[in-house]
């Protein structure tokens, strides 16, 4: 199958991001360790799935890497090193405010749960796209900015005529495409996607996933894909990290996770999703049990 060749080409052996002993604490009383000593690497061109239930620390970890955490959350230890295409290693914790802002979006962009409130409701999407260029590409003229934004909307299939549209005039799926267009604007090497399809209907979800997959093939970026939907991750990820209570309990290729999950919690998560087309009563792996007092 041609797929495999593409796969070879997309995922490379060199690392894009190395996260070591990363910990985040919520400095409240009593303190909450939201992320505990997490280490992982992301390869160039790879989709890494970050799976876990609410409160497991998966979003905190992603925000921590981008240093977007707000007090009372503090990074207590660890590092995140970004291996730039240009050959330079960037230690994200050592950047000052201004350097960090320049890094954001330029090298690593984010896609949020877009059907919600990720777009400013009172500003048209053209301006919100244009923002990225005025900040990171100040040399572009107004006309060039406009043209770039229009082209981005075309790439994601929204159409350039929607530049002046306001978020509420678009469907949930369209809004999410706009978010992806925005994330794509500066051709970043990494996209962090936080539950990007969770609020969408399955048909729309599938279209968006297809789009992400196509774009990755075209532009070669890596993806950290955060969701609680393990079956979805199994389908789209190269590797999956399963998080629980702030820790990565298991990290392996999607295939290994599917066939030979090692950690008990991973197996429990897998068993929580009944199989769509498997034998009746046969869940993804393992069997269900009625949890008492869960």
């Amino acid at each position: 199958m041609t797929l495999d060749k593409n796969q070879e080409r997309i995922v490379t052996s060199d690392n894009l991001l190395t996260v070591s002993n990363f910990s985040v604490m919520y400095d409240v009383d009593p303190p909450v360790e939201a992320v505990r000593d997490v280490s992982l690497t992301l390869k160039r061109g790879e989709i890494l799935g970050l799976a876990g239930e609410s409160g497991c620390g998966k979003t905190t970890l992603a925000y921590g890497i981008q240093r977007l955490l707000k007090p009372p959350a503090v990074i207590t230890q660890g590092s995140a090193i970004f291996h730039d295409k240009a050959g330079e290693d960037i230690d994200l914790n050592s950047l000052d405010e201004k350097q960090m802002r320049a890094f954001r979006w330029n090298k690593a962009s984010m896609v949020f749960q877009g059907a919600m409130n990720a777009l400013n409701p009172v500003v048209n999407i053209g301006k919100q796209l244009g923002d990225v260029f005025t900040t990171h590409r100040p040399e572009l003229s107004r006309a060039e900015r406009h043209e770039e934004s229009a082209r981005l909307l075309e790439i994601v299939g929204v159409g350039r005529d929607r530049l002046r549209a306001f978020p509420h005039e678009l469907s949930g799926g369209m809004r999410q495409r706009v978010m992806i267009a925005m994330a794509l604007a500066l051709k970043p090497q990494l996209m962090i996607m936080d539950e990007p399809t969770t609020a969408l209907d399955v048909l729309v979800q599938r279209e968006i996933l297809q789009q992400i997959s196509d774009l990755r093939k075209e532009f070669g970026f890596s993806v950290i894909f955060i969701t609680h939907d393990l079956p979805l991750l199994l389908e789209i990820s190269d590797r999956i990290a399963v998080m629980r209570a702030g820790k990565v309990v298991e990290i392996n290729t999607a295939e290994q996770i599917y066939h030979h999950a090692e950690h008990e919690y991973t197996r429990k998560l897998l068993a929580s999703f009944p199989s769509l087309t498997g034998e009746r009563g046969d869940f993804v792996r393992g069997t269900s049990s009625v949890e008492t007092g869960a």
Binding site: M1, L3, D4, N6, Q7, I47, E53, S54, D201, V202, L203, Q205, R206, L209, Q210, S213, D214, K217, H228, D229, L230, P231, L232, L234, E235, I236, S237, D238, T253, A254, E255, Y258, H259, K268, L269, A271, S272, F273, P274, S275, L276, T277, G278, R280, G281, F283, V284, S288, S289, V290, E291, T292, G293, A294
Partner: protein, 268 residues
């Protein structure tokens, strides 16, 4: 044996300016005790309109909704008795439980209102109900909803629904707000209770996989029209309607994904 019947039920919303919106178009189905029917559809398919008609938040524009052959009463004792027989479990257990009242209060209320058991028996019955939903009564009975986990709250909501000993249960996305690892537990509980009490359950969901495993029959709703219905396995494994097939193929399905050798790549 209780039967709830939808006969050519149509619901039309008048929207100023843009004309009418047909939320339900001649929907027919019958829910009987002892059976679970899954009602599957995307947002805007009309599945929540059906739930609203069953809870009398909305009235059908035309067609009939019959409980044991009689239309849903509009008021009085007959309406009470309808409400006692057809109970709801909602999506958000936080919103459906009053934060100011204890769990005891929530479950006592229907017991007293519907005079299910004599007054001196109420306390015992509350304990019995909590046990039936696999909660430790002494742990939860004097707590308030916010002191419980999402799964516990939904179990309380189920216990409350069962208090008046209904014959039919409408479960509207009962697990979609819960954490994934406890969803199956709640669904299995519902399935157990359904068997033990010979309940008729209408399971409203967008999730095909759980629909298949927890129901006898599946109805697929698209834009107010039932496009396909049948035995749960048949509808999912061998869908007849193009829309059902589309839905199924779009749903994540790692088993199929990993079944073909050498396709560890993302779908493309």
């Amino acid at each position: 044996m209780t039967t709830l019947e939808f006969k050519d039920v149509t619901k039309r919303y008048r929207i100023r300016g843009t004309g009418d919106f047909l939320a339900l178009d001649k929907v027919n189905f019958t829910l009987t005790s002892g059976k679970t029917i899954a009602l599957v559809g995307q947002s805007g398919s009309g599945k929540s309109t059906i739930a609203k008609i069953l809870t009398q938040l909305e009235r059908a524009t035309s067609g009939e909704v019959l409980l044991d052959g009689k239309p849903i009463p509009r008021r009085g004792r007959a309406l009470r008795s309808y409400r006692q027989q057809v109970r709801m479990v909602f999506q958000d257990p936080f919103a459906s439980l009053n934060p100011y009242h204890t769990i005891r209060h929530h479950i006592e209320r229907p017991l007293r209102l519907d005079k299910v058991v004599p007054n001196e028996e109420v306390e015992n019955e509350v304990y019995r109900l909590l046990e039936r939903v696999r909660l430790e009564p002494n742990d939860v009975i004097d707590r308030r909803p916010h002191e419980l986990s999402g799964g516990q709250r939904q179990r309380v909501a189920i216990a409350r629904a069962l208090a008046s000993r209904p014959s039919l249960l409408i479960a509207d996305e009962p697990v979609s707000m819960l954490d994934v690892s406890i969803r199956l537990g709640v669904l299995n509980l519902l399935a157990d209770l359904q068997r033990e009490n010979n309940l008729g359950v209408l399971y409203i969901t967008h999730d095909l996989a759980t629909a298949r495993h927890f129901s006898d029959e599946i109805m697929v709703l698209n834009r107010g029209v039932v496009v396909e219905r049948g035995n749960a396995d048949d509808v999912i494994l061998n869908p007849q309607h193009a829309y059902t097939r589309e839905l199924r193929d779009a749903s994540p399905n790692p088993d199929k994904h990993f079944a073909a050798p050498g396709t560890t790549s993302p779908r493309s």
